[in-house]
Symmetry: C3
Subunit: 318 residues, 3 copies
């Protein structure tokens, strides 16, 4: 694996899930695979679970990790070709990235979208420029539009919790929030479930919250949450701001908050959320505290997702 | 040892001191005890000595440590049952803590009091909630009302510097400061000295600076600093704000600043302070620079205190 | 080597360069030299390349490194003898430094100048006080007036890229910037090239940008950039603010920006800059993107510079 930014970087999703579950069963199975290799973890935005789970994954592979916390504020990177840098940007990605490429064997990056300029955010210029100029495998720790380690972890979690031969019905439902949130987790979950082909996949949201079709195509999409939840085996709850009215919040949508009443429509479904979650805004206490809630397991599986991806990168390097 | 928050978590204080001194003599005596174990260090407030000394202690035991810097500002946790999280809190401890419990074998936490609401601070809701929901041993790196690693280190330091058979006279004296300071260090020192029973213990402070009796009961308490210092073997200098007029500073109390004149009343006493110290406000240069000053040794002993506690936790885990 | 703050700490610069190049060829040649030793890295100002390259160097020597991020803002140190600390400073270096001296075997420090008070900055009171009170080797990670790891890395880079028997012509040219910048990198480069004696050294800058003669004495100094560049083999580009009108920016000096036209005067020179660089302000894209540009190599050589210095310190300790 050269980089890990979207499903397009993965040739065999079920094999990657299987590798993650192998590590979950035997964390130190490849404890020397990363010996003498260095993982840089570049955070342009805060991170807690992603940071720790990826460090643990590297440690399990015998790989050294190096944390670089760079606020967008105190180290503004320039990405424009030919830019005259007499303003707020202090370093060009063309100058910074090659050095990371020499210091590290793999570089992880977290970068959030500005939610102001859709074309800019969806060009993924930050992570793509890093990939172009660093010339080593790039591991997305959540980028402007996608969050692949979360999605891989979500698929691992679904597979672990589904024992039938038939495909589960997986529903991604929009949830209310108090401020504009990126589309990353929703885009990414949709892309991964569609590419995986392991589920009957339904997306439901209020009008105006349509996602980028390049990620959702293949799923059934409905504005009727009740219809969507009917017979669901897994319900993934997530807020996102508008894609077409970019970054806007069109409605408070309070009725979309998932409660036990909604869950009664499902097939005793498991509930999922990537965390952090605002209780009793996105979904109710009773669901989060219910044994069917999988949020802790999703977060724990981040370790095995990262470990599987890092091991593929380490194996794939000459 | 399941957790380390107060003396109530310790069954045998002299044995814990002895273990710390054993490690001071032979730092790598148990260099593989923590192999494959992970220590999370969660800082909701800044730390310098505590952070480094605890990391060194973990390293000496072969344990990996993971730093999580979370400002109270950028990651406000919710603690209320049933809270509707449509305000400033972004994550409930019920959702965050179980993940730490899965990532780590032991979790350390630093959290300061707000000094606004005494009942809230003294409920220790932050560290107690972490303990409740993480379900792994919790190591206090200073909490709202106590600072047990400091106090253990202080007892180690007293024991090292006292060679007589009779008990030393230990005096905790209030000192002036320029701003309101938590009662943690004073509470904790009082609690530990009282539980240790290894000293004749006197506390002196101006009227209005009475501490919570649940920590001080057992000590002689006086407003007369001169009487207190008479014949003292160890003088522990520390400012704290009012407990009863919670967080208030009633008087500048400049006369309480410890100087050589005060020390002449003592039995050539050793002086102690947990650092950082404001020179010539809390105590004078001449005392800090005197060979009887123990502040550096107290800070160094933080390593051995942490190592003793971590080793007890590691040994105590099934 | 006891400390590493300026060339005065180094007895044999060519030998140090040779050691660095030895490590570049064989990074793990001394992989156990630092076993059981601890390196503290104290950052009073931000760092990216310095932090990572020094951590990698320590790792290559089997040494543990500990990061301490302390903003000048949130942990203001006091340096004055006899100071009454009732103001903004919270801890005296006399109290803090000895503890670092006990926790660590070597301590690195980054501290920037205030650019307000030349005498204060040039007294190097911060790093010199640390050295005085910590009582262990101090490794400068850039101090108020010098940046020796950068300069050592620069000499390594020059030596690697010069195959002739005759000395290269090395030119340090002032470049424009949009804000006042310390003199550290220029001072340090001048000091090191002069002490090295391996180059014909010319410094060029606009009137008013004269550097401290104690660093530049030995070099040819001219205000005529064209003359300076004539026949140059290496051109080091760097902005600095005025030394005599301390911290002032006297002219925008836009004409001093290095372009291809300037480079045509040289002997197909290599170009150097310590990064970060403001493109098309300090020098033009065409130069930075030209194969003769050495900026990435300079940054990579920081690893080997740090490793050579750390190994000398480790070898020199009893």
């Amino acid at each position: 694996m050269q980089s890990f930014i979207s499903t397009h970087d993965v040739s065999d999703i079920p094999a990657l899930i299987a590798r993650a579950l192998m590590y979950k069963n035997d964390p130190l199975a490849d404890k020397s695979l990363g010996a003498g290799k260095r993982l840089g973890l570049l955070f342009m935005n805060p991170s807690l679970r992603t940071r720790v789970s990826t460090q643990i994954a590297a440690q399990n592979l015998g790989m050294e990790s190096y944390i670089l916390n760079v606020g967008n504020d105190n180290w503004q990177l320039e990405f424009g070709e030919g830019a005259i840098m007499d303003g707020t940007t202090v370093e060009h990605i063309k100058d910074a990235a090659p050095i990371f490429g020499e210091y590290f064997d793999i570089i992880g990056l977290r970068t959030f979208p500005g939610l102001k300029d859709r074309a800019l955010d969806y060009s993924e210029n930050v992570i793509r420029s890093l990939q172009k100029y660093a010339n080593i495998p790039v591991l997305s720790l959540e980028s402007a539009t996608l969050h692949p380690l979360q999605s891989l972890s979500d698929l691992i979690t679904i597979q672990e919790n589904w024992k039938k031969v038939t495909k589960p019905k997986v529903v991604l439902t929009w949830a209310p929030h108090i401020k504009p949130i990126p589309q990353c987790v929703a885009n990414s979950f949709a892309q991964w479930v569609n590419a995986w082909c392991g589920a009957d996949f339904v997306i439901t949201h209020p009008e105006g919250y349509e996602l980028d079709p390049s990620y959702t195509d293949g799923a059934t999409i409905t504005h009727n949450q009740q219809d969507a939840l009917e017979g669901a085996d897994f319900v993934y709850v997530k807020n996102w701001s508008s894609y077409y009215n970019y970054g806007q919040v069109k409605t408070d949508g309070a009725a979309w908050m998932l409660t036990e009443k909604h869950m009664s429509l499902t097939n005793d479904a498991h509930t999922m959320h990537c965390l952090p979650v605002r209780r009793n805004v996105e979904l109710s206490d009773e669901i989060l505290d219910h044994p069917n809630g999988l949020t802790t397991i999703q977060a724990v599986n981040r370790v095995w997702a990262a470990q599987a991806v890092l091991s593929e990168m380490l194996n794939g390097r000459p």
